[in-house]
Symmetry: C2
Subunit: 215 residues, 2 copies
């Protein structure tokens, strides 16, 4: 708890702060996150942080940018078809979400205009266009894909402070179809479920493309 005297450097910079913030959100969740707690974690006065980051909102921007940067690394070779690119992007994104479930909701709420996000989008658009898909399909598909990914991962990671929570026992009388399908609904959050649902979306894109090419 040895407090530094004024003026001595604490070695703070945007990067170190962002890394500590990610770790703090990972541990305690978004609700408990705050400037003061982060400062204590860094062994620093709360106001010191403001010399590197404008305020809490900018702090959360830095957090989401930091976790997004993790996903950009494994882009894979460029010589793949658009489906391979889409699948790799989706898997990388999912892995990141599971690595930082408490951070993930931030990404779905804030508009993603950081360079890494735009680069990933551009890769997807380019791969689809190179494959000869109709322009309207190319324009729509990545948005559909990321909408699905955000919605799905938000549900699986739970968004809230304590994960998805156990499925409550459903009333078989009131919901007979759901009750009958219960065994199939049980692999909630599994890798197999993710791939199945991702395939549905990709299938829709593929089919839509085939339909618009020959009208």
């Amino acid at each position: 708890m040895a407090r530094r005297t004024r003026g001595t450097s604490a070695g703070l910079d945007r990067e170190r702060i962002a890394a500590a913030a990610v770790a703090l959100v990972d541990r305690d969740g978004l609700e408990r996150f705050g400037v003061r707690r982060l400062a204590e974690e860094l062994g620093v006065d709360p106001m010191s942080i403001y010399h590197h980051i404008r305020g809490k909102a900018a702090l959360l921007d830095a957090v989401s940018e930091a976790v997004l940067a993790e996903v950009a690394a494994d882009a894979g070779e460029a010589s793949s078809g658009w489906e391979e690119v889409a699948r790799r992007t989706a898997h990388g994104y999912r892995d990141m979400a599971y690595r930082h479930p408490k951070v993930f909701p931030l990404l779905t709420t804030r508009a993603q205009t950081s360079p890494v996000a735009l680069a990933a989008l551009e890769r997807l658009f380019a791969a689809m266009r190179a494959a000869g898909l109709p322009d309207q399909v190319v324009a729509d598909a990545p948005m559909v894909l990321f909408s699905f990914l955000n919605g799905h991962l938000l549900a699986r990671t739970g968004g809230g402070p304590d994960g998805p929570g156990p499925m409550p026992p459903l009333d078989a009388g009131a919901h007979p179809t759901m009750a009958a399908l219960a065994p199939l609904l049980a692999d909630f959050g599994s890798a197999a479920e993710f791939d199945r649902m991702l395939d549905v979306v990709l299938q829709g894109i593929r089919d839509r493309a085939a339909r618009e090419e020959t009208p």
Copy 2:
């Protein structure tokens, strides 16, 4: 500003509180929402609210339940095919999201286990099963649909305090494909865009069903 004397009824109950809370979030956004502000809106002491609702979290639960209830009304006749049911459900859900853009993020974060949410899900499951879709497809499809809806509507309504924000001017040099498609990306948030993307998802479900029926 006339404060009531202690003991006299203020006519508070869960329903009235929830309605005022929805109106307050609609007006000022989630960030500015709080127990004290809500109390002032109701002309009431903050602590009075706690006699009807456990705390802020329960208050937000009531808010999301209230807006979800709006969508249950227009279910439509039961004699429709599953696609019609899915489309009507999606449109009703979207209309609700646009009616309460500041509330919507709540729905994507909290697990939806309220009776109205389960009833809507059951309708979808039942319609698909009645149409003879394979069980695995029936089990997955509503989840895929709502994942897409949540992700898409979250992006369109902006989630944050001030809407989606204008698209920043993108660097045509760094992102040539996106720049080329810019005209097609311009109808962000339009009804036509929603229907196009919804069709992609439904197409995927349809195709997946056809593929699994005849293996």
